[in-house]
Amino acid sequence: MSAMLENFRNHGNGRQATRKATGRGRGDRPRKGPWPSGLYGPVAPTLSRLSPRVFFVLVTLPLLLLTVDASAQEPFYKGKTMTIIVGTKAGDVYDLYARAIAQYLPKHIPGNPNIIAQNVTGAGSLIAANHVYNLGKPDGLTIGAIFPALYFDQLSARPEVKFDWTKFNWLGSPVVSNHFMYMRSDTPYKTIDDVRNAKEPPKCGSTGTASTGYYMPKLVEELIGAKFNIITGYQAGGDVDLAAERGEIVCRSFTITAYFAREPFFTWRKKGFVHEIFQTGKKRDPRLPNVPNVYELMNTYKTSEAGRRLATVILAAGNVGRPYVTPPGVPADRLKLLRDAFTKTMNDPEFKAEAVKRKLELHPVSGEELEALAKEVIDTPPEVVARMQKLLGK
């Protein structure tokens, strides 16, 4: 497959490619202009004008090349060093994923490049996203690991956003991150219905308005008319959990993954200290089979169409998970190669075993799916954006 792609880069010039494949070529591989845009784009209409001989070579060449030893080629990535720009500090969960991927991805890229992870931190990975989009060369050597909800900022037309979410090239995501809310069991709020009917809303803790601890409960407020008293300003998620132990707050919304990965939640579930009152995945998480998801709640409480659109735009971030992107303009063949490599890595038994060992949940999403999601959210009509901005306090 890789040999085929490599030869296709020779602008479909069959003779030159054949020479090269047999080792007699001059080796001056044309570097200007990516091949696929050439083939499918302006070149395609001219295909019919090609002489039958050239056409024959073009069609049969791929088949022939499959039998040619790949080592006769110099894969683009051989001897190269790729960089994954990670939007968080070293040691953060995003960083742990990125470093695991940096270790196993090279195995699945022809030429086995070296991959290093570099942390470009700040502004909730907005700095990293701007960095990758504007400073990363479109040569397929730069990958970004950024937050999935950055499109909120683009929709809000924040001047700091220096990228177009739809123009990123999406490689994939190792995991979707659906959210849920825990509620202390010694409160009167047994179900989301109790929250709707309560005179005094439950106090939920969060770190800030940009965190899911803030906007997930806000979204549920908007959709089904439940009320939460959201207290912001805790330093970290752990501090919110401590506040829950203390009784300062009684609920918090965060990822299902973390809830099943570490303390204090093991103990909490064992002792029945908390229960879960809603979740955000399209389907109920198998580990939370009795907890209604937001979509079911929207049906129950007859949420309006505009409300549903709002839910789509905000919950899309969870389906984007922890995405990996390249700058726009990467040659399509190289993008395909990277996407394939990403998918192969996600299915690599060794990588899976390592992920289990490192307590990194895997639930991969393909680059194509992410691309579609990106287009969908940026397409949000202005009135929904206005509601979203209000909800996010922006």
């Binding site: 500090k89 070293a90 040691g91 960083d95 742990l96 470093r99 570099q118 942390n119 470009v120 931190t121 700040g122 502004a123 909730g124 907005l126 700095i127 701007n130 001047p159 700091e160 106090k203 770190t207 800030g208 308005t209 940009a210 008293n229 207290i231 912001t232 300003g233 805790y234 330093q235 970290a236 752990g238 501090d239 959990d241 401590l242 506040a243 132990e245 203390r246 300062e248 707050i249 990965a261 570490r262 303390e263 204090p264 093991f266 103990t267 060992k357 490192r358 307590k359 996010l392 306090g393 922006k394």
Partner: protein, 505 residues
């Protein structure tokens, strides 16, 4: 009784697990790395822990993993103090308070005494921290739960009142510097409404000012400029021999109760989430100079000013571990990373650590003890070589120092802006020294401003105004008023004439 036996057993088991091979080897490796990390200015334990994390994946058992990581973290506090004393440049963010009296001691040619005092007090502090961790095991959970957001707010305010003590000669300048610090703490995205404050279109400022570039800029750059201007070595033209190390060791025991109190301050701030060594060092420094009979010695090389923060920044390590072990909730940034590493090797810190894995908890105590004893011994061995650096001509030393502080600042966010921030605060620091403005209040204001703001907001949002009448809050308010009024009371009582400490830098 049976419980005591179980604990005793786990205590002994932990001891042997740490001494077993290869765990002990990993600890030595950790100590070797931590030794240099501490010495090199700016490069902190937190950043290094993050770098070392991938290496810990290859380690098989939890005990070996934290022998390596905790061993490394445990010693940075001690060796960081050495850099602060010798060069006037904080080796770690949490060693900055040692610059105030430690560096003047070096300039007076008393580097040996200061180093001896710092190492011994660090050791004592670390041991107190380790024992507090061990002793608090039965009461850990209620201890951590005692401090809610309203209590944290009052404690932050108590910290702010120490600005007066840290102000030195001019109370007004000190208060103003503290105010500037509080204002700088407002920079960034505010967590309550998400609005941007003082960010001037710079994404770098969204996440608030990082403490490392500020500390390095304020303290290191003025000293480097000063060294360049003087054109001599740090110790001037004093005789090239290091004397008085034993004197420093004896100082620790002369002021034993001060060291004990400051160690307990460290433990206390370690237990409180968010505060930690960065605050504890200043509070204990303030406490130490407040107790000076002759206030004019503060900032002029009083050994008490070395002993206090020296002990406190080490004892916080033990305190830090308490919420981590009791709840599986990290008490600081470095603990969060440690927790991540432990998860990977299959240990899940949390309530289980007090029951089925009690021996692991005690093994942590032992790592703290062993690592600190070993590093103290190591420091005494290399002390002469380190102190010899203060006799090197400034022009040879300066390029290295500039390189090190640049690398150190850069590790804060891996951003070029870290260097810009360092330079800006360097210039500010230079003029502050030139015109006799104290720098510690600014740092304290910067650290506490954010904490005070957030906890005030949370307290009010969660409890309305009711929190003001919580018994714990009332006790803490009384304690704060007492600390503020104490010097005046003492003066009124006529026991000792109170003078403001002179020129605490």
């Amino acid at each position: 009784m049976a419980e005591l036996l179980v604990m005793g057993d786990a205590f002994a088991k932990g001891f042997w697990q740490v001494l077993a091979w290869p765990a002990f080897g990993y600890m030595l490796l950790g100590i070797a790395i931590g030794f240099w990390v501490g010495l090199l200015p700016g490069i902190g334990g937190l950043a290094t822990l993050a770098l070392m994390l991938p290496f810990s994946y290859t380690i098989k058992t939890p005990i070996e993993a934290f022998c390596f990581l905790l061993g490394m973290l445990a010693v940075t506090g001690t060796t960081g103090d050495l850099t602060s004393i010798l060069f006037g440049i904080p080796g770690e963010g949490s060693s900055a308070a040692l610059v105030l009296d430690g560096y003047p001691m070096s300039k007076k040619g008393e580097a040996g005494r200061a180093l001896g005092a710092a190492i011994t007090s660090s050791l004592v502090g670390a041991l107190i921290g380790a024992f507090s961790l061990a002793l608090s095991i039965p009461i850990m959970r209620p201890l951590v739960l005692l401090f809610g957001s309203p209590e944290m707010f009052i404690i932050a305010i108590m910290g702010v009142t120490f600005i007066g003590t840290l102000a030195g000669a001019s109370l007004l300048k000190g208060l103003l510097a503290g105010g500037i610090g509080l204002m700088l703490a407002a920079i960034g995205v505010d967590p309550q409404t998400g609005s941007l404050r003082y960010t001037f279109g710079q994404l770098y400022l969204w996440d608030r000012l990082d403490i490392i570039p500020v500390v390095v800029g304020l303290f290191a750059i003025p000293e480097i400029v000063d060294l360049a201007v003087r054109g001599t070595s740090i110790a001037g033209s004093r005789p090239e021999k290091l004397s008085g190390v034993m004197e420093g060791v004896k100082d620790t025991f002369r002021h034993f109760w001060l060291v004990m109190r400051c160690s307990l301050i460290g433990v206390y701030f370690g237990v409180l989430p968010v505060l930690g060594a960065n605050v504890a060092q200043w509070i204990s420094y303030a406490h130490a100079v407040q107790g000076l009979k002759d206030k004019s010695r503060a900032g002029q090389g009083a050994v008490e000013g070395v002993l206090g923060p020296g002990a406190a920044n080490n004892s916080t390590r033990g305190g830090d571990l308490i919420p981590t072990v009791a709840f599986g909730i990290p008490g600081s940034g470095s603990m969060a990373l440690l927790l991540g590493a432990l998860l990977i090797v299959g240990l899940n810190p949390g309530p289980e650590m007090l029951k089925t894995h009690l021996n692991v908890t005690f093994a942590m105590v032992w790592v703290l003890i062993f690592a600190n004893i070993i590093v103290a011994g190591l420091c005494f061995l290399v002390l002469n070589h380190l102190a010899a650096l203060t006799f090197i001509r400034g022009s040879l030393l300066i390029p290295f120092l500039v390189l090190l502080i640049s690398v150190g600042s850069f590790t804060a966010n891996n951003s070029f802006n870290d260097l810009v921030a360092t330079l800006i605060f360097g210039v500010l620091g230079y003029f502050m020294v030139l015109y006799g403005w104290p720098r510690p209040p600014l740092i304290l204001g910067l650290i506490l401003g954010k904490i005070a703001e957030n906890y005030l907001w949370i307290s009010t949002a969660a409890y309305g105004a009711k929190w003001l009448l919580f018994p714990t809050v009332l006790i803490l308010i009384a304690l704060t008023v007492f600390t503020v009024a104490y010097p005046t009371i003492k003066e009124r009582m006529g026991k000792a004439k109170y003078e403001r400490p002179e020129d605490a830098i």
